[in-house]
């Protein structure tokens, strides 16, 4: 048995429970009966529900925000460089490939320079092909 309809005031006092899905089936039936008997109450409830549905929408849309670089910058500044000192480690930390590529490129350039300098005798050895 679902019992008799709530009075309008009883139903109004249960708006939150209905919106939170906390009424039992029988209470919900009494609530619905109260709305059916009082169009003004029904309209009031529907307006409240519409406002809350729209408010909930605010939490489902993605927001465009990127806080990471600002957080890293502030942490580095406030820690006197103790944290986020290495700028290669900044940002996503999801691009180890890029850091590795830069490091390998730097090593390659240094290697080529070293080889060239050695061949040219700039490192203190005898320059090839020069008479003593």
């Amino acid at each position: 048995m679902s019992g008799s309809a709530f009075t309008s005031e009883q139903a109004r006092a249960r708006f939150d429970e209905v919106l939170d899905g906390e009424l039992s089936d029988s209470e919900r039936a009494r609530f619905d009966a109260a709305l059916a008997a009082d169009p003004e109450l029904s309209a009031e409830f529907e307006r409240l529900r519409a406002v809350l549905v729209a408010t909930k929408q605010l939490g489902t849309e993605p927001v465009a925000v990127d806080l990471l670089s600002g957080v890293q910058h502030k942490l580095r500044a406030r820690s006197g460089g103790r944290f986020y000192r290495d700028r290669f480690a900044e940002r996503r930390a999801k691009q180890p490939g890029l850091a590795l590529l830069i490091a390998l490129s730097a090593l390659f350039v240094l290697g080529v320079l070293f080889w060239f300098a050695e061949r040219a005798g700039w490192l203190g050895g005898k320059p090839p092909g020069l008479p003593l």
Partner: protein, 198 residues
């Protein structure tokens, strides 16, 4: 209870592992920013404050004892920052126009920008709705606004809200009841006002 993945993340955060902290910021930035934005109503202020939330977490993570979900603790830190910032802003703005002015409308619009492409009229309507709702949120008392944001915008359970705010269930529900009614009245007044202008 914390799951294994969360425990591992917390351990890394406690060791000040920067890569783990980067991942943590990326994981939580949207939730923190949305909470702060809806509480403060100003995008630039909200970005600054959300960054401060993460800095506080970086500093205070050692104090996290795992008695709640990490997300609950993050929300608690964010809510505390919001309360403090609102007090500060209220003091600072006391001499200025009350409420939410045209410039803050500029700040807030565009907060939701990564959604689906929409027709211009739909976009306009969505922006208008968002603006009215944000005005409505800002018209609430800070304590009520916090509960509406946590419950309606962030979709948190009453248990989580009680853990974040430290309030008993009865207080949360009664404040939320008043807040919902006030928000509805605000929106209705706004609609009536717009109806008269047409």
């Amino acid at each position: 209870m914390l799951d294994a993945q969360e425990r591992e993340l917390i351990e890394k955060l406690k060791r000040r592992d920067e890569a783990a902290f980067n991942a943590f910021v990326l994981q939580y930035q949207e939730r923190v920013f949305r909470l702060v934005l809806r509480m403060i109503g100003d995008r630039a202020e909200a970005e600054d404050l959300a960054q401060e939330v993460f800095i506080s977490i970086f500093k205070a993570i050692e104090g996290f004892r795992g008695e709640s979900q990490l997300s609950t603790w993050v929300y608690r830190v964010a809510a505390n920052h919001c309360r403090n910032r609102i007090k500060y802003l209220t003091r600072r703005r006391r001499q200025l126009t009350e409420g939410y002015d045209e410039s803050s409308e500029e700040h807030i619009s565009g907060a939701q920008s990564q959604g689906r492409p929409e027709a211009p009229d739909q976009l306009m309507e969505a922006r208008q709705t968002e603006r009215v709702l944000q005005d409505g949120l800002l018209s609430l008392e800070e304590e009520q606004r916090e509960l509406v944001v946590l419950r309606e915008v962030e979709h948190l359970s009453y248990e989580e809200i009680m853990a974040i705010t430290g309030l008993p269930e009865g207080t949360v529900k009664s404040r939320l009841h008043r807040a919902r009614a006030t928000l509805r009245e605000f929106i209705e007044r706004n609609e009536q006002g717009r109806g008269r202008k047409r």
